[in-house]
C-alpha cells in the first residue's frame, strides 16, 4: 500500500475509500473524500494516488456525481501536471454520460497541457504532446487557436519535432491552414532527412482537405531535385490521387522530370504506378517507362519490376502504339530471364491474359482510378472521448495505441505462458478493470464478491493437516471429456489465483489433484479433484475453514468457468 503523507490516518482514509459500506452511504463517502482532499499533509504524490483510487468508485446518482466533481475541481488547477492529469482522467471517466462536462474538463486542462508542451523538460513535453494528440482524435478543433505553440524549434530533439508535426497536421482548420502550411514547408528542407520526410507526409495528410494549396507546395518541393524529398513527394502524390481525384491534373503536370531524382524502391513504385494509371495525361509517360525497362536487368527490387509490368500493361491499353514494343521486351525479359518466381509468374499471367484478347484485358485491368470514399472513411475515425478516457494519463498514449497493443499482447502471452505470478492486478483491480484484463474477467462473469488473494501459498504439510481436519462442504460433479493435461489446468487455475498443491501425472488412473485458494477475508478453500478412468465426470470436493455459502458458491462457479474454458480449448 502506498504511503501517503506521514500519518496513519491517511492510510485509514484510503482504506475507507475502498470500503463498499462507505461507498454505499453517499454522505459518508462525501465526507471521506472531503476529509482526504483537505488533508494538509497530502502532497502531490498523495493527491495523485487518491485520484487514482477514486477511479474505482461509481457514483449512484447524477447529483452525487456532480457533488464529487465539485469537490475535486481544485485539483484541475494544481501546479503539478501529474495531479492535473489524474484529475482529468477521473473527471472524464466519472462524467462518461455527460459529453458536455467532458468537453468542459478538456477546455480547463488545455492550459496546463499547453504549458507542459512548451516545458523545459523534453520528456514532459513529449508526454504532453502525446496526450494532445489523443484529445485531438476526439475534438479536432480543440487546440486550433494555439497552433503556434506546436511550431518546432531548431534545437528540439527529433521525437518531439515528429510529434509536433503530427499535432499540426491534426489541428489544421480554415483559419490557420495558411500559416501551418507555411511552417511545414520550412520543415521540408530540414537538415534531417527523416524529419523532412515526416513534414512532407504531413502536408500530404492536410492535402486531403486543402488540396490545391498543398499540391502547389509539393510541386515546388520537386524543384529542389533532392532525392529524399522527391521520393516522398511522389509517394504522397500517389496516395493523394487515389483519395482526391480532383488533383490528378495538377499532379500529372508536376510529374515529368522527377524520375531522375528517385533511386529507392518505394519512390520508384509510386512513380511507376502514377505513370501507369494516369499515363494518358502525361505526354512522356511511355518513354519514362521505357527507360525503366531498359534498366530492368539491374533492378534490385522485385516489387519495382512487378509494378512496372502492371503499369506498362495499363498504359498499353490507353496508348498502344507507343507501348507495344516496350511491353513486348519487358514480357520477354520477365518470362525468359527473370529469376524471381513472383515476377516471372506475374509476367506469364499477363502474357496469357493478353492471349485471351484485349477486351478481356480491359475488363480485368481497368479498375477505378481513385476511391474518394476511402478518404471520407479515414476522416470519420473521430473517436468518442469515452473510447480513450481510461487510457488517459497512462503509458498508452505515450507508446501510441498500436504499439501498446503489440506490447500488451506480448505481455499477455507471457502471462499465460509458463510464468504466471502477475495476477495481483486482476485480484485488486476492483470495479475499474484495465483494458487488458477485460477478456480474462469475461471468463469469470459471476465471481461476485469473491476476491481470491494471489500469492496464497500453503505448504504441503499444512494443507494435509487442514484437509484432514475439515469436513467436505460441497461436492459436485462436472462433465469431463478425455484425459487431463495437468499443465494447462495448472496454468488456468493460477490465472484465477487458485494454487495447485499436488497433482497426479498425466494419464494416471484415477487422476487426482489438490488445490488451495484463499479469499481476501482469509477464508481458505481446499479442493480435491478426482477423475475416475471410466467415468466421463470430474468429481470435486471443496472444504472450507469458515462455513460461508455465498463465497463457496462463487468459488464453485470460478472452478466451473475454469473447467469450461479448458474444455473449450481442448474441443
Amino acid at each position: 500500500m502506498p504511503y501517503l503523507g506521514s500519518e496513519d490516518v491517511v492510510k485509514e482514509l484510503k482504506k475507507a475509500l475502498c470500503n463498499p459500506h462507505i461507498q454505499a452511504d453517499r454522505l459518508r463517502y462525501r465526507n471521506v473524500i472531503q476529509r482526504v482532499i483537505r488533508m494538509p499533509k497530502l502532497d502531490q504524490w498523495g493527491q495523485a494516488e487518491v485520484l487514482n483510487f477514486l477511479l474505482r468508485y461509481e457514483p449512484r446518482s447524477e447529483e452525487e456525481l456532480f457533488d464529487i466533481l465539485n469537490l475535486l475541481d481544485s485539483f484541475l488547477k494544481s501546479s503539478s501536471p501529474g495531479v492535473v492529469m489524474g484529475a482529468t482522467k477521473l473527471f472524464l471517466i466519472l462524467a462518461k454520460k455527460f459529453p458536455h462536462v467532458q468537453t468542459d474538463v478538456l477546455v480547463q486542462v488545455k492550459g496546463p497541457l499547453l504549458a507542459a508542451c512548451s516545458s523545459e523538460s523534453r520528456e514532459l513535453c513529449f508526454a504532453a504532446l502525446c496526450h494532445v494528440r489523443q484529445i485531438l482524435h476526439s475534438l479536432p478543433g480543440h487546440f486550433s487557436s494555439h497552433y503556434k505553440k506546436f511550431f518546432c524549434s531548431y534545437s528540439e530533439p527529433h521525437y518531439i519535432k515528429l510529434q509536433k508535426v503530427e499535432v499540426l497536421c491534426e489541428l489544421v482548420n480554415d483559419e490557420n491552414v495558411q500559416q501551418v502550411l507555411e511552417e511545414l514547408r520550412g520543415y521540408c528542407t530540414d537538415v534531417s532527412a527523416d524529419f523532412a520526410q515526416a513534414a512532407i507526409f504531413a502536408i500530404g495528410g492536410i492535402a486531403r482537405t486543402y488540396t490545391d494549396q498543398c499540391v502547389q507546395i509539393l510541386t515546388e518541393l520537386l524543384g529542389l531535385r533532392q532525392e529524399h524529398i522527391t521520393t516522398v513527394v511522389v509517394q504522397t502524390f500517389r496516395d493523394l490521387v487515389w483519395l482526391c481525384p480532383q488533383c490528378t491534373e495538377a499532379v500529372c503536370q508536376a510529374l515529368p522530370g522527377c524520375e531522375e531524382n528517385i533511386q529507392d524502391s518505394e519512390g520508384k513504385q509510386a512513380l511507376i504506378w502514377l505513370l501507369g494509371v494516369h499515363g494518358e495525361r502525361i505526354p512522356n509517360a511511355p518513354y519514362v517507362l521505357e527507360d525503366f525497362v531498359e534498366n530492368v536487368k539491374s533492378e534490385t527490387f522485385p516489387a519495382v519490376t512487378m509494378e512496372l509490368l502492371t503499369a506498362l500493361l495499363r498504359l498499353f491499353l490507353s496508348r498502344p502504339a507507343e507501348c507495344q514494343d516496350t511491353l513486348g521486351r519487358l514480357l520477354h525479359y520477365c518470362i525468359e530471364e527473370e529469376k524471381n518466381m513472383a515476377v516471372r509468374d506475374r509476367g506469364l499471367f499477363y502474357y496469357r491474359l493478353l492471349l485471351a484478347g484485349i477486351d478481356e484485358v480491359k475488363r480485368i485491368l481497368c479498375s477505378p482510378k481513385s476511391d474518394p470514399s476511402l478518404g471520407l472513411l479515414e476522416d470519420q475515425a473521430e473517436r468518442p472521448v469515452n473510447s480513450w478516457a481510461s487510457d488517459f494519463n497512462t503509458l498508452v498514449p505515450v507508446y501510441g495505441k498500436a504499439r501498446w497493443a503489440t506490447i500488451s499482447k506480448y505481455q499477455g502471452a507471457e502471462r499465460r505462458g509458463p510464468e504466471l505470478p502477475d495476477t495481483a492486478s486482476f485480484a485488486t483491480s476492483g470495479p475499474l478493470i484495465p483494458e487488458e484484463n477485460k477478456e480474462r474477467v469475461q471468463e469469470l462473469p459471476d465471481s461476485g464478491a469473491l476476491v481470491l488473494v494471489p500469492n496464497c501459498q500453503l505448504t504441503a504439510e499444512y494443507f494435509e493437516k487442514t484437509w484432514f481436519s475439515l469436513k467436505v462442504a460441497h461436492q459436485q460433479v462436472f462433465p469431463w471429456r478425455g484425459a487431463v493435461h495437468p499443465d494447462t489446468l495448472q496454468m488456468a487455475l493460477q490465472v484465477v489465483n487458485i494454487q495447485t498443491i499436488a497433482m497426479s501425472r498425466a494419464g494416471a488412473h484415477p487422476w487426482k489433484a489438490y488445490l488451495s485458494a484463499q479469499d481476501d477475508t482469509g477464508c481458505l478453500f481446499l479442493t480435491e479433484l478426482l477423475l475416475e478412468s471410466e467415468n466421463s465426470e470430474m468429481q470435486i470436493s471443496v472444504k472450507q475453514n469458515e462455513p460461508r455459502t455465498e463465497t463457496l458458491n462463487s468459488f464453485i462457479s470460478v472452478l466451473e468457468t475454469v473447467f469450461g474454458t479448458i474444455g473449450d480449448i481442448k474441443s
Partner: protein, 485 residues
C-alpha cells in the same frame, strides 16, 4: 509504482542502482517458493529470463546496461522517453548530463513519474550541492540514503526537503574548486566592496543541509527569474510567433518555517482583459503558483506569501505569447548571394544587439568565436556580445549543383531553393522579456520588493537577497528565405 531506479552517466556507466522490488516478479523469485513441491514450478521460475535478470548477481547492472543498449540502438523515429523490454517499461529523464531512469511493470501515469524523476533530480541537487557525475559519485552513500527515504518499495513516501532532513544523516561531500572569483570578492581589510554584494556564481550550488555544527550557516535566499523565449520571424521581419515561458525560482537556505513575502509590482496583470495602473504594466497570459504559495494578498497587493522549504522551488510559472512589450534583444539581418556558375554561396549575417551597452550576453559555448560547417548546417558561435554593438560575418561556401530558381542569370541575389531558416539561441543574464522594460541595475520589475521574513523565532540576521534574472532565448529567423522563382 517503481521497480527499479538508477542513474547513469552520459556514457552509460551506472552510478546509482536501487532495486525497489515489491514487484510480483521479484516476490515470486524471493523466498517462499523453495518449498514448493512441484519441481516444474521451480524450474519455471528459474528459467524465467526476467527473474534471472532482476535477481542476477550483477546487482542490476544488466538492467542498466540493457537500458543504455536500447537507448543507443533506438531507431530514429521512436522516442526514447518510454521504452519497454519484456514487460518492463523504462522511463527516463536527462538532467545535467545524467540519465535518471525508473522502471515499472505497471501502466503508470507518465506525468507523475516524470515529475517524480525531475523532483528527484532537484532533491539530489539540493542535497549534494549540484547535480553532476562528480557530485553523485562523491556522495553515493548520501544518495542511497535519500533514495531509501523517498522510495519505499517503489512507492513515493515524501519528497519534501523538510521531512527528509530529519532522516538524512550523511553529510554531503563538496569539493570546492579554487576560484579567483572568490578572492576578488574580498575587499581591502574586509571592507565591503561593490563586488561582495554580488554573490559569486557558485554561491547557490551548495548543499541545503550544511553540517549541523557549521556556525557560518548563512541565511540566504536566491531568487531567479528565468525566461525562455522562442521567437519566429518571417522573412519580412515581422514576428510570427513569440512565446515566453517564465519562472520565478527560489533557492532558500533559510531555516524552515520562516515566512517570506514576495511582492510583485502592482502593475502585474494576468490575462488580456485585466489592466492595472496607468502604465503599460507587466502582462502575462497565464500564471500558476506552487502549491505552498498563499495567494490571499495577491489580488489586492500582488504579494505572494509562502513558507519556502529549504532547497529549490519554482514559486511561479507564467506564460506570455504574441504581444511582447519589449523589443527583442537581438536582430539578425541576413543576406545571401549565390553565384550560379561556380556554385559559390555567400551568406552575410549581421547581428545587432539592441540592449543597453552595459549588458552582456553570456558565454555560449567557448571562449573563442568560431564558425563551422557540419550536419548540413552552418554554426556560428559567439562567446559574448556587447550591448548596443553590431557583429557581422561573411561566409563563403562552394556548393556545386545546388538547384535554384529557374530562368535567371548566372549570378543572382536570389537564394537557392531549400536554404533553411536561421536559428539563434542565446542566454542573457539580467534581462527578461516579460512585462515592461527591465533595467539591469535595479533588477527586473517583477521582483520589486525585498523579501521580508517576519517570524519572530528566527534570529534577525540580514538576509541577503540575490537576484539572478536570466533570459534564455531561442530565436529562429527565417529572414533569408527569399522570394521564389
Amino acid at each position: 509504482m517503481i521497480s527499479q531506479f538508477f542513474i547513469l552517466s552520459s556514457k552509460g556507466d551506472p552510478l546509482i542502482y536501487k532495486d525497489c522490488i515489491l514487484d510480483l516478479r521479484g516476490r515470486s523469485g524471493g523466498p517462499g517458493w523453495e518449498w514448493c513441491p512441484r519441481a516444474r514450478l521451480y524450474r519455471w521460475l528459474l528459467s524465467c529470463s526476467s527473474t534471472r535478470s532482476v535477481r542476477g548477481d550483477s546487482g542490476g547492472r544488466d538492467v542498466a546496461e540493457l537500458f543504455y543498449r536500447k537507448l543507443t540502438g533506438l531507431p530514429g523515429d521512436e522516442s526514447p522517453v518510454v521504452m519497454h523490454h519484456d514487460d518492463r517499461h523504462f522511463i527516463h529523464i536527462r538532467h545535467s548530463g545524467l540519465y535518471l531512469v525508473a522502471t515499472t511493470s505497471e501502466n503508470i501515469s507518465p506525468f507523475s513519474l516524470l515529475e517524480l524523476l525531475s523532483r528527484l533530480a532537484t532533491l539530489l541537487g539540493d542535497y549534494c550541492g549540484s547535480l553532476g557525475e562528480g557530485t553523485i559519485s562523491r556522495n553515493v552513500a548520501l544518495v542511497y540514503e535519500l533514495l531509501d527515504e523517498v522510495l519505499d518499495y517503489g512507492y513515493v513516501q515524501t519528497t519534501s526537503t523538510e521531512m527528509l532532513r530529519n532522516f538524512i544523516q550523511t553529510e554531503a561531500v563538496v569539493s570546492k574548486p579554487f576560484s579567483l572569483f572568490d578572492l576578488s570578492s574580498v575587499g581591502l581589510f574586509g571592507a565591503e566592496t561593490q563586488q561582495s554584494k554580488v554573490a559569486p556564481s557558485s554561491a547557490a550550488s551548495r548543499p541545503v543541509l550544511s553540517s549541523r555544527s557549521d556556525q557560518s550557516q548563512k541565511n540566504e535566499v536566491f531568487l531567479d527569474v528565468v525566461e525562455r523565449l522562442s521567437v519566429l520571424i518571417a522573412s519580412n521581419g515581422s514576428l510570427l510567433k513569440v512565446d515566453v515561458q517564465g519562472e520565478i525560482r527560489l533557492k532558500s537556505f533559510l531555516p524552515s518555517g520562516s515566512e517570506m513575502r514576495i511582492g510583485l509590482t502592482e502593475e502585474f496583470c494576468v490575462g488580456k482583459s485585466e489592466l492595472r495602473g496607468y502604465g503599460p504594466g507587466i502582462r502575462v497570459d497565464e500564471v500558476s503558483f506552487h502549491s505552498s504559495v498563499l495567494l490571499e494578498e495577491f489580488e489586492s497587493h500582488r504579494i505572494l506569501r509562502l513558507q519556502p522549504p529549504q532547497g529549490e522551488l519554482t514559486v511561479m510559472r507564467y506564460q506570455l505569447s504574441d504581444d511582447l512589450p519589449s523589443p527583442l534583444p537581438f536582430r539578425l539581418f541576413p543576406s545571401v548571394q549565390w553565384d550560379r556558375g561556380s556554385g559559390r554561396l555567400q551568406v552575410y549575417l549581421k547581428l545587432r544587439c539592441d540592449l543597453p551597452p552595459k549588458s552582456l550576453s553570456q558565454e555560449l559555448s567557448g571562449p573563442e568565436q568560431k564558425a563551422e560547417l557540419g550536419d548540413g548546417a552552418l554554426h556560428w558561435d559567439l562567446p559574448r556580445v556587447q550591448g548596443g554593438s553590431q557583429l557581422s560575418g561573411l561566409f563563403q561556401m562552394d556548393v556545386p549543383g545546388l538547384p535554384g530558381p529557374s530562368g535567371q542569370g548566372p549570378s543572382t541575389t536570389a537564394p537557392p531553393l531549400g536554404l533553411g531558416p536561421a536559428s539563434l539561441s542565446f542566454e542573457l543574464p539580467r534581462h527578461t522579456c516579460s512585462g515592461l522594460q527591465c533595467s539591469p541595475r535595479r533588477g527586473p520589475h517583477i521582483v520589486s520588493e525585498l523579501c521580508q521574513a517576519c517570524d519572530g523565532a528566527i534570529p534577525r540576521s540580514p538576509w541577503s537577497l540575490l537576484v539572478h534574472p536570466a533570459l534564455q532565448g531561442e530565436g529562429r529567423y527565417t529572414g533569408e528565405r527569399g522570394p521564389r522563382g
